[in-house]
């Protein structure tokens, strides 16, 4: 009995050591061909979610395609906690010189790690704080939602829209407001109903919400949840129109009712980041892409959208890019009757984080 357990112990130790040895081999960069740059990216969810995370993962894939000499370390499902710090430090120990902390909640962990490793560059989406080695980047969506609103207002027959939204967060409220204002600019009777599901991921609840909104007479549905698939499918089945978000592949679920959609396209930006780090020209910035940038894309319009609407969308897009038009031009009242933007003024896109109201004509509770 004793001898046997001794042998097992020896075997165990041998296995353990060989494991460590193999680990050492694989993590020793001197043995492989040295890549020019290692880029680490951490995701909050799965990169095949058909939504937010997939957009970032596709951006990195495009960067890798543009710059084959770059090596990517990609980790999914990293919690927004001290775990994120550990994963980032681990990537740096593996030689990463550029870290993409691809979720809003990674901002503070990234700032802490950035302080510890000043020679490593960090980039963070939608962050509101920066560091000498941490850049923030995002694309502003209200303008694109305004354009979707124009198309929806021209397409809707009942003059009613429904919106399924995860949470009443200021940036989401801004998008809903923009969509509604766009629709009202072409159809002053337009009414928008909002349902907050309280979670980014619950297709069952999203289905109930979409059905309830359609029952109230809406014939256009929009959404801000992780995956647009459920809402778009239900709209299509019940003969209504839909506006996609995050993931443009969702179009195939609505061959008839598709209006258009908005998606983030990070490939070009990530390629620029990697190039700048390799060339030593990277600097800390606050990048906010607009419709003219390559950070945001509008999907092709569906067959139901009238030609005049598409023309109007193009004209308005031009006006936005040239700075001749603002999404939130006064006078704007909120849906409780309080004046929020004075006539002649406008709500700056830099203040979106302070938006805690919904525009007149939207039926929903912003708080």
């Amino acid at each position: 009995m004793n001898k046997k357990s001794e042998a097992i112990k020896k075997q165990f130790v041998a296995v353990l050591f060989s494991c460590l040895f193999i680990l050492g081999l694989t993590s020793n960069p001197a043995l492989g061909q040295q890549p020019k740059l290692k880029v680490g990216i951490i995701h909050i969810g799965s990169i095949t979610d058909g939504g937010y995370n997939q957009a970032h993962a596709e951006g990195v894939a495009i960067m890798k395609k543009n710059l084959p000499e770059v090596e990517v370390i990609e980790v999914e499902n990293v919690p927004e906690s001290a775990d994120a710090e550990r994963v980032m430090e681990n990537m740096i120990k593996q030689g990463a010189k550029l870290i993409i902390a691809a979720s809003f909640g990674y901002l503070d962990p990234a700032l802490r790690v950035a302080k510890k490793y000043p020679e490593v560059k960090f980039v963070h989406p939608a962050g509101y704080k920066r560091a000498p080695n941490l850049t923030t980047y995002w694309a502003s969506t209200p303008e694109a939602f305004y354009l979707m609103g124009i198309a929806a207002g021209k397409t809707s027959k009942t003059s009613k829209m429904g919106f399924v939204c995860a949470l009443p967060v200021s940036y989401f409220l801004a998008n809903i407001n923009a969509l509604h204002l766009g629709a009202r600019s072409v159809n002053p009777k337009m009414e928008t109903r909002v349902v907050f599901t309280g979670t980014f991921l619950d297709p069952g609840k999203e289905a109930t919400a979409a059905n309830a909104l359609l029952d109230q007479g809406a014939d256009v549905l929009g959404m801000i949840v992780d995956s647009p698939i459920t809402v778009v499918q239900i709209a299509e089945k019940r003969g209504a129109y839909s506006i996609g978000y995050h993931y443009l592949g969702v179009q195939k679920f609505a061959p008839k009712g598709w209006i258009s959609g908005i998606a983030f396209t990070w490939g070009g930006l990530y390629t620029r980041f990697a190039k700048q780090v390799m060339e030593g020209t990277w600097k800390s910035e606050n990048i906010l892409g607009n419709l003219a940038s390559d950070l945001i894309a509008i999907a092709p319009f569906g067959p139901a959208v009238p030609a005049e609407a598409i023309k109007l969308v193009e004209e308005t897009k031009k006006a936005f890019i040239e700075g001749k038009k603002n999404v939130f031009e006064g006078p704007i009242k909120d849906n409780r009757g309080q004046e929020r933007v004075k006539a002649g003024g406008h709500w700056s896109l830099n203040d979106l984080g302070k938006m805690d109201w919904l525009v007149e004509g939207i039926i929903g509770q912003p708080r």
């Binding site: 095949t48 069952g204 609840k205 059905n211 195939k252």
Partner: protein, 305 residues
């Protein structure tokens, strides 16, 4: 206007309640046989993903349902191996199986995210479906929804009016006594797990191939745990489970319906509605819940050697 809202609310309640009821019925059977399975969430996810993948591959939602039922049963049999053969702690194993189910279903489902299926569609019952208010509620539903109330009756009959049910319950109350009476507790518990797995798998499949017609990681969003709570709520009785599932589904639907109607209540408050309602009902309708629980719930029959 009000009429459509009420009809919409009832349809929503049935939509949300159906998968909950399947899962609750399964858990009632398990717990009546003395096993508490906190891994129900994992079983539902396995059913949801396998049902969806099979439907994508074959194009046939009926085969999808079969796949979901099989996956649920197999998953539960593994749980059975752990708690019956290996005599592991049921609560710990259940939680571990839940996380295992979340992970495994994510791995299986990853290549199929964004796949398009026809799924199980509503079947209109001619003429009746046109009745205002009640037509869409009772006569425009999918097959699984039509089947769920009769199924509850069958489970009730099986548990309380057949010899099999009597044996099953005797194992849940006192496995030693059941063993002394010549029954095989292990075999009966495996049978209960198998039935519960089938029902749990179908519960998940109702979400992925009938209601939302899509697969997403962890798409059950906690319904497995709600079903475990509903078992206690329904005093381990399949017919009370109908009421429990409909009330809870109704609370979810009401919360959404109130928002769609524009009732000026914060969505954060409305979010608590299903849980507040459950707490309220439990407080008012308390009663001798402990007496209703199977005597040997959570305990493993240790044999008689």
């Amino acid at each position: 206007m009000m009429l459509t809202a009420i009809s919409s609310l009832l349809v929503g309640a049935i939509h949300s309640g159906t998968s909950l009821l399947y899962a609750t019925l399964g858990e009632v059977i398990e717990e009546r046989a003395g096993m508490i399975n906190l891994g129900l969430e994992g079983v539902m996810l396995m059913g949801a993903v396998c049902g969806f993948v099979t439907t994508v591959k074959t194009g046939n939602p009926a085969l999808g349902l079969l796949g979901a039922a099989l996956a649920g049963a197999l998953f539960n049999l593994f749980f059975g191996f752990l708690v019956i053969n290996r005599r592991a702690n049921q609560l710990a194993c259940g939680l571990a199986m839940m996380f295992f189910g979340v992970g495994l279903s994510a791995v299986i489902g990853a290549p199929f995210i964004g796949s398009k299926i026809k799924g199980l569609n509503e079947i209109d019952i001619p003429l009746f479906a046109e009745i205002p208010l009640l037509g869409p509620v009772f006569f425009r539903q999918d097959l699984l929804t039509y089947a769920v109330i009769p199924l509850s009756l069958i489970v009730w009959w099986l548990l309380f009016h057949t010899r099999f049910g009597l044996n099953l319950r005797s194992v849940g109350e006192n496995p030693t006594a059941a063993f002394a009476a010549g029954k095989n507790p292990y075999f009966l518990q495996y049978q209960a797990l198998c039935l519960a797995g089938v029902l749990g798998g179908i519960a998940g499949a109702h979400l992925s191939i009938a209601l939302a017609k899509t697969w997403q990681e962890w798409m059950t969003a906690g319904r497995g745990f709600i079903a475990v709570a509903l078992v206690i709520f329904s005093k381990w009785h399949p017919l009370w489970a109908i009421a429990g599932a409909l009330i809870f589904g109704g609370a979810i639907a009401l919360q959404i319906q109130l928002q769609a109607l524009g009732v000026p209540i914060s969505s954060f408050l409305l979010d608590m509605l299903p849980y507040l309602l459950s707490l309220g009902i439990l407080a008012i309708w308390g009663g001798k819940r402990r007496a209703a629980a199977p005597g040997s719930l959570g305990r493993v029959f240790q044999g008689t050697e």
